[in-house]
Subunit: 459 residues, 2 copies
């Protein structure tokens, strides 16, 4: 019997949890790349609305979720917490496995938890239009959905190769009324510059970020409606908005009188992982025995191999310098199918908590992730996003380990999204076209070189 | 505020509702096309397992749902009943709109409600392998999911043009371990015959049915594991299994003290419509004032234009003659995007209830359905299957009518599936490539000619 632990709408948490209030070591500030000085709110004001900048630096432990945000959350929240009974039976290990199903949102992932919040704060601030970039399209579709709910225009710069190869995400954006164009485009200086050098450029997330930021900061001069830029991961306020996941899961586990020994999530920029894990990290800081695992691909081993250093958040060096685990802003990950995990850096909050030994990073190979995803589909029924499969692979690892150790364990995993528009990846797996990836030491040397001139964070 | 009315797992109905027990006029039997005599259980035994044949002809009002079926149902059931508050606000009409969200199942539609039951009964009967056909792939993916849950092999013959143009559904089937091949195939006599005449045949549902039935009835002789055939709509037992939808909806509406004035569903073969509507038809037979609307495309107006007559259920004349509304077994519907509604016939149970004036059929134009689907996505958030959009169009019609009449009404609609792998249809709509369809009187004359030699049902 599958077990779904449900909450009613009036049980949605009324506040987000801000882990900055409980960090054992304070966060180190973002730095201006030119001056090396901490970046202040005024520096960010052309890009983000001030109410989100205030959240970015807030030290308040609990931040009220505005009523209009809760109102839209109720379209799909509270999300069900499942007991993965069929997987447990299949694995035959001494574990209870719970998963938080974030795939039930209209765009199919956890991303709208912050997209809705960001659209709301922009609306309140007076923003009429939001620009953003997207790779495979999860974030672009979530932001399109959110802007539609609050009557804002959305402009999405989508990496050209994904735009052409993965039309479904773009079509979702259109259905929610957003404009999505391939990047590099002729609509920005940054795009035109790239196209003049390479008219057939396939684009990259770095280029798309440049275009989206330029769009926002030049809108006033260009006579466009007031525009701000929006980011779907990495930043503190983005992770904050995702904590509704873990707070709900805690309520749901309390209903069945349970508590996890292990919390698992996949981490690209860090937002779905943090959203589920941070409320449990809080308990760990308070003394609870709990293992918290952030999972990444071996092909992009930011947390397990990358140094903790100041680096740019983007390839084209437009952001402030962020204190984080990084493989260098010039790193180009292998074209694995988990597009959302192909990021050179990691959220500063997650990075600091790894340094503080509160979070354990783990890298898994691509084939193992798809094996876990197929096992999941053939037991629990649902088809998982390739990113999510990384977390599932560690669930299987930990279940087997519990059996070896002869210990009874309870595992909570954040099922961050469905894979219904990622089935091409499963097809490639079945056809034997996928491979594992090694990460050569020479890449670490390159990364160290890329950041060697930057200030160093305290270790 | 969105309003979700949830049930716990222990509130899933324990019995299906069999409307045959309450029909004001008894069902007329299927006939053998050769003899014109009623078809008996023995005639169907080579194709279906006897336990399902018994359900097909049962007159029991309530039929217990087996525990193993309930167990798999709990993966996604009970499904949420939503109040469509945002759509209500947008329409600004004096209506309350509730929708039953059947899109939350792993394959994304109502189809597994019967696929799971059929796989279970086959398993109990000793079947090791199930063959079926699929057009766009909703049914094939649901049956693949179901067979996987019960450890049965699944072989799906998928119309070749869909197999090539719509790979996502096929990839879902593979992910759940099923074999899916394009039809016509070289693996059956029927397929080879078609290919010998036209090596580039795009296939059709009729051809795929022939292949799947041939596969089942020849398996023993060919040394394959014991195989039966499975159908995803039209038949009595299929509609029976779907009644869990309407029974749950009744419980959910009772929780908020409400009852619909109007129940709406789209109807291709009739199963999602019947599943939601039949428990309310029961109330209507008992004297309740309620309007029950079955919605079809104007391009395939089986219920609104087709005669009630005996006709083959399939194009290639392999099935018994069924008493139903039909456009003639040789009818080829226009290539509209709602593939699930492109069927020449209608479930005999639904057809009889239309004759009895208990169900009101209505045809809607294609453009109106996509307009309703886009409105839905931009208010309620979720992206609807093109089939489902037909029901949504009638919700909008009825809301406006309530305003004109100055009456307060409550509408229940069955949201039968999501449209995430149908976004190409939305794209065609946005690009202005879709059109409305007229249905010429000459097509009715052709239909009458196709059935003129068959016995006539009582009117």
């Amino acid at each position: 019997m599958a077990i779904k632990i449900l909450l009613n709408e009036d049980e949605i948490p009324r506040q987000w949890y801000n882990i900055a209030a409980d960090m054992p070591n304070p966060m180190q500030p973002p730095l201006h790349p030119g001056t090396g000085q901490p970046v202040g709110p005024a520096d960010l004001a052309p890009v983000f609305p001030m109410n989100l900048i205030e959240q970015e630096v807030s030290q308040e432990r609990w931040i009220d979720i505005p009523e209009p945000v809760l109102d839209v959350y109720t379209i799909w929240r509270p999300t069900p917490l499942y007991r993965a009974v069929k997987l447990e039976q299949y694995l035959n290990c001494p574990v209870k496995i719970y998963y938080k199903n974030e795939g039930v949102s209209p765009p199919g992932s956890h991303k709208p938890n912050t997209a809705i919040a960001q659209a709301y704060y922009n609306k309140v601030f007076g923003t009429k239009r939001i620009s953003t970039e997207t790779g495979a399209g999860q974030w672009g579709s979530a932001l399109s959905f959110a802007c539609n709910q609050f009557g804002l225009e959305a402009k999405v710069y989508m990496v050209r190769i994904s735009y052409e190869q993965k039309p479904y995400r773009r079509l979702m954006m259109n259905t929610w009324g957003a404009t999505c164009i391939p990047s590099p485009s002729t609509e920005t200086e940054a795009g035109r510059k790239i196209l003049s050098q390479d008219p057939n450029s396939p684009g990259s997330l770095g280029i798309a970020i440049s275009e989206a930021v330029e769009d926002a900061v030049t809108s006033e001069a260009a006579g466009r409606p007031p525009t701000k830029y929006s980011l779907g991961s990495v930043l503190n306020h983005v992770l904050l908005h995702q904590t509704v996941i873990g707070l709900e899961a805690q309520k749901q586990l309390a209903k069945v009188g349970d508590y996890p020994d292990i919390v698992v999530g996949c981490a690209g920029g860090g937002s779905n992982f943090a959203g589920c894990a941070f409320p449990f990290v809080r308990d760990k800081i308070a003394g609870k025995q709990i293992q918290i695992i952030a999972v990444e691909p071996t092909s992009c081993p930011t947390m397990t191999r990358g140094p903790f250093a100041y680096d740019f958040g983007d390839t084209v060096q437009m952001t402030p310098l962020l204190p984080m685990h990084t493989l260098g802003h010039d790193f180009v990950p292998a074209p694995i199918h988990a597009g959302g995990l192909r990021y050179h850096g990691m959220a500063p909050l997650v990075s600091q908590l790894i340094m503080d030994k509160l979070i354990e990073p783990r890298a898994v190979q691509q084939l193992e992730t798809f094996e876990a995803g197929v096992t999941w589909a053939r037991t629990e029924g649902f088809i998982s996003a390739p990113e999510t499969c990384h977390a599932l692979a560690v669930v299987v690892q930990e279940a087997k380990k519990a059996k070896e150790e002869g210990k009874q364990k309870t595992i909570l995993v954040n099922w961050s999204g469905h894979g219904i528009v990622d089935l091409g990846a499963y097809d490639a797996f079945f056809q034997g076209k996928l491979s594992d990836h090694e990460f050569p030491q020479s890449e670490i040397e390159r990364a160290l070189k890329a950041i060697e001139s930057f200030p160093k964070p305290k270790l």
